[in-house]
């Protein structure tokens, strides 16, 4: 036993050193990769021997650790880089978007129904607006001004944009992740957003400011609301993967669904960054007329549709 360890230990020492170097390297040469595979086989053989001859020993534990490190090392996928990103935009995102098409329509309808309910609620019981809006916002509207007026005098556009985009991204990510509660979390979130939107519009229209609010949201709203619906659609798909698993177990099904739809959520986050900048720089700026805002909104929505279809990056 001792003779075997002395004979093999020299090689293990070299391997520990080279594995720790390879683990931190970004790239490996073909020789290094082939060497790692050969070493993996050798360590497997030694580990099998050590497990039989000296189980529960430090040597076996060391070989187990080395074997695990080599296993992770040789199964490491290369970084995608730009080609990987292009594949994402060409294949993965359009596929995920096509899979969710009917769900997106359902989410848009759910949000619209929520907005109608919110409108009806505040039109019938105006005092309930305090459930959806803060006292400062209510006071502003009752004085005949939108809370967005003069926003740029208080906070710089850049800071405003960052705050807005961070909030929008967290709402969208939450709409997706809340799907884990068998889709119910997503349903509540989308409905609540719709109710809030409808209630706010009903309240401002009671004070003759509906047109002003429409002018404010027309540049960023179409993409922002669409992205929330898309994230919601992905959340319901996640919920369904748990209710009706397509694979052997719920966990496998959930994992496969998250991996399939995850790239779409990354695109949603990127689109919301754009929305944040529009909402921070253009929407509160009174120098932009309605026509310009509507054009920006329509163009950005078109960009979103093209990105979802994958046509922009077709080979």
């Amino acid at each position: 036993m001792r003779a075997w360890i002395i004979a093999r230990a020299g090689e293990w020492r070299g391997l520990v050193q080279s594995v720790s170097e390879l683990r931190v390297q970004r790239r490996a040469t073909v020789e290094q990769a082939l060497g790692a595979i050969e070493a993996y086989r050798g360590v497997a053989r030694d580990l099998a021997t050590a497990r039989r001859l000296v189980p529960n020993s430090r040597t076996t534990a060391g070989l187990e650790a080395l074997y695990g490190q080599l296993h992770a090392l040789i199964s490491r996928k290369p970084r995608g880089g730009l080609p990987g990103l292009l594949d994402l935009l060409r294949v993965d995102i359009p596929q995920a978007a096509a899979e969710l098409r009917s769900r997106m329509v359902s989410m848009a309808l759910l949000m619209t129904a929520g907005a109608a309910a919110g409108w009806w609620l505040i039109s019938t019981y105006p005092s309930l607006i305090s459930l959806f809006a803060g006292p400062a916002m209510i006071a502003h509207v009752e004085e005949g001004h939108l809370w967005t007026e003069g926003m740029l005098n208080v906070v710089p556009s850049s800071v405003l944009s960052i705050g807005i985009l961070a909030n929008n991204i967290s709402v969208s990510v939450l709409a997706f992740c809340a799907g884990i509660f068998f889709g119910l979390g997503t349903f509540y979130l989308i409905t609540f957003n719709g109710v809030m939107l409808g209630a706010t519009f009903a309240f401002v229209s009671q004070h003759g400011l509906a047109g002003a609010l429409f002018t404010f949201i027309i540049a960023h709203g179409p993409v922002e609301l669409s992205v929330i619906c898309i994230a919601g659609a992905a959340g319901t798909a996640l919920g369904e993967s748990l209710i009706r698993p397509a694979l052997a177990t719920r966990r496998d099904s959930f994992q496969a669904c998250a991996h399939r739809l995850g790239p779409l959520l990354l695109l949603c986050a990127a689109l919301l960054v754009g929305c944040g900048f529009i909402e921070g720089f253009i929407s509160p700026d009174p120098s932009f007329p309605l026509a310009s805002r509507a054009t920006i909104g329509a163009l950005y929505f078109t960009v979103m549709c093209i990105l979802m279809s994958g046509r922009l990056f077709k080979r």
């Binding site: 036993m1 001792r2 360890i5 002395i6 230990a9 020299g10 293990w12 020492r13 520990v16 050193q17 720790s20 683990r23 993996y40 086989r41 497997a44 053989r45 099998a48 000296v54 020993s57 430090r58 040597t59 060391g62 070989l63 187990e64 650790a65 080395l66 074997y67 695990g68 490190q69 296993h71 992770a72 199964s75 490491r76 996928k77 970084r79 995608g80 990987g84 208080v154 906070v155 710089p156 850049s158 800071v159 960052i162 705050g163 961070a166 967290s170 990510v173 939450l174 997706f176 992740c177 809340a178 884990i180 966990r251 959930f254 994992q255 998250a258 991996h259 995850g262 790239p263 959520l265």
Partner: protein, 236 residues
């Protein structure tokens, strides 16, 4: 509850992975949290007092001071896990790493999905959902790991490093192999053991490995003398 899992390998020798429990996870998270909070705070102080940038959201140059701090704080985990292939400084110190369910290095998508689900795992506060999930799931994973198909396993680098000393020790020492490994491990952990504990362990080991030696003499040795004696015994 399983503490280890076996993963099939192409060599025919199964890979055994030691699952990291909620304690290891929390330890790593606490370290990472302090690192990111300290770096973010240090940047804010540097930006405010050295670069004279405004730290209030209403100041015109607030973006330059607040944005980097926010990026450090909120994107610490995804960026470092991607750059360090499933590890962070906290995980490194805690001796754990992220692997796929087949023991491999996780891909970029898996790491991003794992981090997206932090939002749910951290609800309602202090990672309550994630912690409960770790206690009730078979492989002690949080929801983010479930979605990404990842696990947190113990990375026993100390055991792997002990292989580097094995050749010299096994060739030079007259001690039986199990005793040799035991003494090596005690010496390796010498400074992390409490003074009383290491004295007790060292005295007990010396008494067993050198039966004729005077017990009272061993008890009279101080910390460094015990360390030197154990080293001498190990080297034969």
């Amino acid at each position: 509850m399983d503490e280890t899992i076996s993963v099939q390998s192409v060599t025919g020798v199964d890979l055994t992975l030691n699952i990291a429990g909620p304690g290891n996870r929390s330890y790593a998270f606490a370290i990472d949290w302090h690192i990111r909070a300290l770096i973010a705070a240090a940047w804010l102080l540097f930006a405010t007092y050295v670069l004279n940038l405004g730290s209030s959201p209403k100041s015109p140059d607030a973006l330059l001071s607040l944005l980097p701090a926010a990026v450090i704080y909120f994107l610490y985990h995804p960026i470092l896990e991607l750059a360090m292939r499933g590890r962070t400084p906290g995980k490194r110190i805690a001796g754990i790493r992220i692997v796929t369910r087949s023991g491999g290095t996780p891909a970029t998508t898996a790491l991003l999905i794992r981090n997206i689900f932090r939002l749910i795992d951290s609800l309602p506060a202090l990672y309550m959902i994630g912690l409960i999930a770790c206690f009730v799931t078979a492989n002690r994973i949080r929801i983010g790991d479930m979605a990404a198909g990842t696990l947190l396993v113990l990375d026993d680098t100390a055991a792997a490093k002990s292989l580097t000393r094995l050749e010299t020790l096994a060739a030079g020492s007259a001690l039986p192999l199990d005793a040799l490994e035991l003494v090596d491990q005690v010496l390796e952990r010498w400074h992390s053991l409490g003074p009383d504990n290491r004295k007790q362990i060292a005295a007990s080991l010396l008494a067993r490995l050198q039966p004729g030696v005077d017990a009272a003499g061993i008890a009279a040795l101080d910390d460094s003398q015990l360390h030197a004696k154990l080293t001498a015994v190990m080297r034969g």
